[in-house]
């Protein structure tokens, strides 16, 4: 089994601007994703907007903070799932269940041995 991070990106404010009916539909999609993937979901959260983000860059031992996300792009990460799956095709099949408004980025995790 490989762990995969599924990043959910979208246009900020799209969820808020949607109708109650659309939001209800997207909620149902997430519930269905949760039902199907089940225990293979290792974690997942919805994130507050990028206007609440703080970017930290450290240069020469000094933390430099900026208000906002690390990259200003049209689409921003609004949430994530961490899942485990035997292969990429399984994750891609699960992704079909998520709301269409997202652009999804699927990234495999690598095992890091911190004891070495």
């Amino acid at each position: 089994m490989t762990k995969y991070l599924v990043l959910l990106a979208g246009r900020e404010g799209e969820w808020e601007a949607a109708t109650d009916e659309q939001r209800a539909g997207w909620h149902r999609d997430h519930l269905e994703f949760g039902r199907v993937v089940g225990d293979d979901i290792l974690g997942g959260e919805a994130l507050a907007g990028t206007d609440t983000a703080t970017t930290v860059r450290r240069r020469g031992g000094k933390a430099e903070l900026t208000d906002g996300p690390f990259a200003e792009t049209a689409e921003q990460i609004g949430g994530f799932y961490l899942v485990q799956a035997p292969d990429l095709d399984q994750v891609l099949a699960w992704c079909e269940l998520l709301p269409e408004i997202y652009t999804l980025e699927v990234r495999p995790c690598i095992e890091v041995d911190l004891s070495a």
Partner: protein, 322 residues
């Protein structure tokens, strides 16, 4: 434990892995040639007009992505498989067209590599029922056979490219044309409803056009009315400006020059840097007797054209008018 795996399924598994949609089509095409057909890296580099080192790096990157991302060596369920076979078809056609891409001049090895793409589709179709009946792969095999059948007539004795109307048709491979035609009949016999995807319809229309060009013994017997109707369908299907331009040529050949002019409207935005747009416009102007404007347009095209064979053809037109 059941042993249902056959060597034939292994080939499909490997093709589905190498042409996985998580890879770029270029990387997928290179990986497919290397892994599935065993083409040497140097030859693949030659095909895609890059150095061997660049191609080796591209293949390494693709292999790494496949392993790290966990692309499976598996045949997906039927609903996904049709889509994946479309990706395999796209990758095979990319490899095929790279063999015939202008820019490097005529090259027998590159035509042989284009033949490898045909071999891939044949192998997949002959060994797996799902691939055998897949409309995209059937239409693609027909399309490639019909185009490839002209390989020996595309180059003259001194190595120059010969354009379609000027080719010696006795040098076309008739058996391949017949085979392509038979494949097309198997698709069109049951009506267009059997097509599974836009890609299948795209390849089918391109193959039908290639078949119309292959049919007559003399170029002047070409049925341009039929060809322009196929182009009309292809234009509506793809919305491609290159298809629109080819459609204009076909419509003019069919005799309706005003309609051909109208089809060129708005192509400057997308084809403004291609010599083919002024070349086609010049041809239409010449046919309507507007020689001065035609000459100016031919000269514009000549200044933009990088292919020697086409430059020579344009220069002949200019000499005729001047």
């Amino acid at each position: 434990m059941r042993h249902r795996t056959t060597p034939d399924d292994d080939l499909l598994r490997l093709a589905l892995l190498a042409a996985h949609p998580s890879l770029s089509p270029q990387a997928g095409a290179a990986l497919t040639l290397r892994l599935v057909l065993g083409v040497q890296t140097a030859d693949i580099a030659r095909l895609f007009l890059v150095s061997e080192a660049t191609m080796a790096a591209r293949l390494t990157r693709a292999r790494k992505k496949v392993v790290a991302a966990g692309v499976p060596l598996a045949i997906p369920g039927d609903d996904v498989l049709a889509d994946r076979l479309d990706t395999v078809a796209k990758v095979a056609y990319l490899a095929f067209t790279a063999g015939y891409a202008p820019g490097s001049g005529p090259d027998v090895v590159r035509a042989e590599l284009a033949g490898e793409a045909i071999r891939l589709v044949r192998l997949l179709r002959s060994n797996n029922p799902a691939a055998q009946g897949n409309p995209s792969l059937i239409a693609l095999e027909a399309l490639m056979l019909l185009q490839h059948s002209r390989r020996d007539a595309r180059v003259d004795g001194s190595g120059r490219i010969v354009l379609l109307p000027d080719q010696d048709r006795t040098r076309w491979h008739r058996a391949e044309i017949d085979e392509g035609m038979t494949l097309l009949q198997s698709l069109t016999g049951g009506g267009a409803a059997r097509l599974s995807s836009v890609l299948a319809a795209d390849y089918l229309l391109q193959a039908l056009i290639a078949a119309e060009h292959a049919r007559p013994a003399r170029p002047q017997d070409t049925d341009w009315v039929v060809i322009s109707d196929f182009y009309r369908q292809l234009d509506h299907l793809t919305g491609s400006p290159v298809v629109r331009l080819n459609r204009a040529v076909a419509v003019a050949e069919a005799g309706d020059v005003p309609a051909a002019f109208a089809l060129l409207d708005g192509l400057e935005d997308s084809l403004g840097r291609s010599h083919r747009l002024p070349a086609v416009r010049a041809e239409l102007l010449r046919r309507t007797g507007r020689d001065e404007e035609a000459l100016a347009s031919y000269r514009l095209a000549l200044g933009m054209c990088g292919s020697d064979a086409e430059r020579a053809a344009l220069q002949r037109r200019i000499d005729d008018l001047g």
